[in-house]
């Protein structure tokens, strides 16, 4: 107990001269620079005790599954270790390389991910710029509040809405028939899956996506606009030369993140929306490995597919980050 009190008192530092928070982040000179682990534990064991449960959480629920990917190269028998039973080398990798259903899912993933990137990524920027032109703060806040709403909905609710709107007698078909067209059976036609997915994705994410851009917009120096006005720049020129460059770092960071999650196209949503009739466009890698691994119980095979998907994602994010670092100087780390 005595050592504890000693430890506790040594926490006390002389007050920092300035109360500004930024000064706190600089290392204090009056503290010993290095401490051994023994000293650190003796002094801060209560703080370290706070770390125990979270570290167990990370070890068990985050790092064990990462190690569990080793079953991609080992045979797995139900009920045995999560690391599999015996080495089989690249057996399962060869298996999916020769699997036409996998390649179909692979290309669907690439197309859907690419479309999402091209269609969904720019829209929040446009919306943020549009919101930025509003002068009435109340109107702006109302539009924002409404556009965020879908973000708070469960994906199951979103899927339910999609089914309802595209039903045989749903609103979309009512519009089509009233314009003289024939009602469309949306979920029996593979051609319609991508438009439906993208539309619902835009509906759900576009408003929420504006948050970071709007935050970035507020940091742009008003004086830049004033100077531009004096130089005779109109609103378009101001947007082009000041606003867009001002939010460019945000755009790049979000673009890199989007590229990184490119292969992981909305798994839950696709799973909820797909059905066997439209697998030719609606089956993506993650839903395919779900069926293989969980419905059909081919754990090792599905793990090999999942590992491949994760490696592509990792490669994409690393290269996007490296390219962006070289070319525009912005990066995630």
């Amino acid at each position: 107990m005595a050592s504890d009190t000693a430890g506790a008192t040594s926490v006390v530092e002389p007050p920092v001269p300035s109360a500004r928070p930024s000064t706190r982040s600089t290392p204090r000179l009056d503290r010993p620079v290095r401490r051994t682990w023994r000293q650190a534990l003796a002094r801060d064991w209560r703080l370290y005790s706070f770390l125990v449960l979270p570290l167990i959480f990370f070890a068990v629920f985050r790092y064990l599954p990462i190690l569990g990917n080793v079953v991609a190269f080992r045979r797995f028998r139900p009920g045995s270790s999560i690391f599999g039973d015996e080495w089989v080398g690249l057996y399962y990798v060869r298996m999916f390389i020769q699997d036409p259903a996998f390649w179909s899912a692979f290309w669907n993933t690439v197309i859907l991910g690419g479309l999402t990137l091209v269609v969904v990524f720019p829209l929040p920027i446009v919306l943020a710029l549009m919101l930025n032109e509003l002068r009435s703060r109340r109107f702006k806040r109302t539009v924002q509040t409404i556009s965020y709403l879908p973000h708070f909905m469960s994906i199951v609710i979103v899927a339910g809405m999609v089914f309802q709107l595209t039903a045989a007698k749903g609103t979309v078909n009512q519009v089509i028939t009233s314009l003289g067209g024939n009602a469309i059976a949306f979920f029996q036609d593979p051609d319609w899956f991508r438009p439906i997915y993208l539309t619902s994705e835009v509906w759900q994410t576009v408003g929420w996506g504006t948050i970071l851009y709007l935050a970035a917009l507020t940091t742009i120096d008003e004086q830049l606009y004033e100077a531009a006005r004096i130089d005779g720049a109109n609103r378009w020129r101001q947007t082009w030369h000041i606003t867009l460059p001002g939010i460019r770092p945000t755009m790049i960071v979000l673009l890199i993140l989007n590229i990184g999650s490119f292969m992981a196209v909305g798994f839950e949503k696709v799973l909820l929306l797909q059905n066997p009739v439209i697998y030719s466009t609606a089956d993506v890698i993650s839903t395919y490995l779900y069926r293989v691994g969980i419905v059909s119980n081919s754990v090792s095979y599905a793990t090999a597919i999942g590992l491949f998907e994760a490696l592509i994602g990792l490669t994409l994010i690393l290269s996007a980050n490296a390219i962006s670092k070289r070319t525009v100087g912005a990066s995630l780390w």
Binding site: S25, W203, N234, E268
Partner: protein, 296 residues
Amino acid sequence: MTRGVRPRDSAGYTAFRVVNAALLLAMCALVLYPFVNIVAQAFSSEGYINSGQVNLVPRGFNLTTFHVVLSDDMFWVNYKNTVVYTVVGTVIAMALTTTYAYALSKKHLKGRTFFIGVAVLTMFFNGGLIPNYVLINTLGFKDTIWAIVLPNAISVFNLLVMKSFFENFPDELEEAAAIDGMSTYGIFFRIVIPLSKAVLATMVLFYAVAFWNSWFSAYLYMTDPHNYPVTVYLRNLMAGVTSGTTVTGGNLDNATQIASNVQSVTMLLTVLPIVCLYPFIQRYFVSGVMLGAVKQ
């Protein structure tokens, strides 16, 4: 494009502002429409839904479907499960996230960078669906609440938001308490926690909404329908796995259309708590996300 250089708006810019406002209003209408449509269908009678006449306003107003859904025992069991999963999940998540974030916020903590790295790395790597599934089964969590609440106990994003909040916490208060002989535990529970209500409330909302809305872990790990949350109940309704309730008991000719009526009611009841809380919680979320974005 336009050449208006005047300090006041040019004609072109005024026209743009009108179009801009109109487009934003149209967007709001499109965002809200699906919600309005659910409400309209939920209160409509089957005949009108069958013939596709329900869009914005309920036709043939009735509450029959509400009675049908609310008298289904399984709906109540599943709704109660959602509440339990949300509460237990949020409590566990808050306990783990707050303590970890607090310890990480102490700059003198030896190994701090490592402990931050342990968390942040999991934002970029994860084990993937199948290894997680095998793990949960191996741990024997199948058909227990632990399969839902434990694997999602820490969101690294929330963790970083809290960490940056604690980093900006006034040191002087903690120092004063330490001088008075309070231990780290005392400082944490009696000084830091009570003074962090705003950020704690935000985090509770983040976690609670996430647990309320989640369906996939339950879908994956729950085999007994008595363990489903209401989202899985709804999903099965949509997939036609269950007919929902005893709707088919009457002399109904088109079971699928009636199902859509039941679906609307279930959807409405599922989103009800969130929509009711939404006006109050929305700005917390926004400021939380901004804090997280700025501080990362």
